[in-house]
Symmetry: C2
Subunit: 299 residues, 2 copies
């Protein structure tokens, strides 16, 4: 990855759809994943192997992995909270898996029902099994710029869990501003701390646009050398028309930002917009991407 | 103005409402302007003295200036395209006026029906009358990062008209990304050119959020030393729910960005959000500010 290109990690089919009301037909999800690969995305988080009781939207992940026509050069990844989930992901043919921890103790307890330290221990067997199977593992850290229960987080707390995940064997850690409260100022403070200990290539950013700050935060990260960015086509995961919509930043809008900075993404924006409008149609609402809406309006 | 504070120029009552469908009762506009001053805005563009045939939404600007209870320390400003407009603004008691030119010849012709050079000549009598009356004059330049007819603009073309307006006697020039196509990359290129010729204090930025890039563009400008930023409460001027909504950047979201960067704005965000929700209610839609919607959703 050269310094003047950026890899987008498309999380719409998983982090996006997981937070949309209702369950979509398998064929619609399959089409979405295939459309995204056709648009040039090279890393697509397609599903999640968690207990379907907790996340019914992802109950069909096995079937989805079986259905999608794989495109060469694309990694189809999955979230795996534990060894059982990893085994399902491996059997389904995931190219990469991800584990997730939180930067805040309260969020860890409420979201995954254990302490941060316990969550790290829980990942050890997953890491061992992944190493044996030869699958790369990505780490997520949530609430890096603020927690709904604890408010602002100390960058040192984020550095600790990031270091734990990298030490466990994750090849990179995706820093999640889960509730979207971060600003360019807090993003810079966090990354300045982290880049004192880790290489830019070990870090990705995962911004939600709840407060409209996602692109500014991504700009701040890119300025500091980050070249791996999570995003969700059409801003999936939060309806653009609902008060307090808290979806992921829209991949289309990130592509527009990055290309404007002279950073290559390898993505065909028109095809990406079409993919986003297609899935938004199934969800019964316009695309959450402003670029998509502006392009459509400009005819 | 110290380096760690920013002045926001609130353009909602003029640039915002001018682009909203329908005409609001005078009392509603008066309440909006007064609410904005109460929230801490110190420069409020309250109206426009243009031909009411062209902009019926602004036909009541005299009445509005007469109605508003003035708050000490606040400048109530108005747009004045020509001497006739200036005389009306002066009689109405405007504290400051603004003239507007375009960076693109095509836009100038289609928007104000004359060439850029002719528009500058047309402003001379306004400048002379304003100097005599002791009123400061602000200059607007539209389409600085792109024109709907000509596409991308050369920074040198923007520098030319900016220089013309400053030479005429404008105390600052507001650089308008009228159609919102700019990116942090093009904003940086433009400002790098302009700051070779003009001081940061002579320049303001005026970003529209059509492509979702406004906050990233403002961050780019602030990083380069710009400390005067136009914004419209609730993102007035474009319905957040309409495809291709192309409103001004929401003042609330700019305040959130700036305070996060440690830049003081002097604005009470809660009061500002309330002012935006109030006017949005009259327009029959939720606030176009993501910060407002997120705060409301968080309870």
């Amino acid at each position: 990855m050269s310094d003047d290109s950026v890899t987008l990690i498309e999380v719409g089919p998983r982090d996006g759809l997981q937070n949309e009301p209702g369950e979509l037909p398998l064929a619609v999800k399959q089409q979405l994943v295939e459309d995204l690969a056709d648009a040039g995305l090279t890393v697509i988080e397609a599903g999640s192997f968690v207990n379907p009781t907790w996340v019914p939207q992802m109950a069909d992940s096995e079937a989805l992995f079986a259905a999608i026509a794989r495109r060469a050069g694309v990694r189809y990844t999955a979230l795996t909270p534990n060894l059982r989930g990893f085994e399902r992901a491996l059997a389904a043919g995931a190219d990469e898996v991800a584990v997730f921890a939180a930067a805040s103790e309260s969020f860890s307890q409420k979201n995954i029902n254990c302490s941060i330290a316990e969550s790290i221990e829980r990942f050890r067997p997953v890491m061992a099994a992944a190493a044996e199977a030869g699958l790369p593992v990505r780490g997520y850290v949530s609430c890096v710029l603020g927690c709904p229960y604890e408010g602002a987080l100390a960058p040192a707390a984020v550095a600790r869990v990031t270091g734990d995940l990298l030490e466990l064997g994750c090849y990179e850690v995706s820093l999640g501003d889960t509730i979207g409260v971060g600003t360019a100022g807090s993003m810079r403070a966090l990354l300045t701390e982290l880049l004192g200990a880790f290489a830019p290539a070990q870090l990705a950013v995962h911004c939600h646009d709840s407060y409209g700050q996602a692109l500014a935060n991504i700009l701040a990260a890119v300025d500091l050398g980050i070249r791996r960015i999570d995003a969700a086509v059409a801003g999936l995961g939060g309806c653009p028309y609902a008060p307090g919509a808290s979806g992921n930043v829209a991949t289309e809008d990130v592509v527009y930002l990055l290309e404007g900075l002279g950073l290559a993404t390898g993505i065909d924006l028109d095809r990406l917009i079409a993919a986003g409008e297609h899935i938004s149609g199934f969800l019964g609402r316009p695309s959450g991407s402003k670029v998509a809406r502006a392009r459509r309006s400009a005819g």
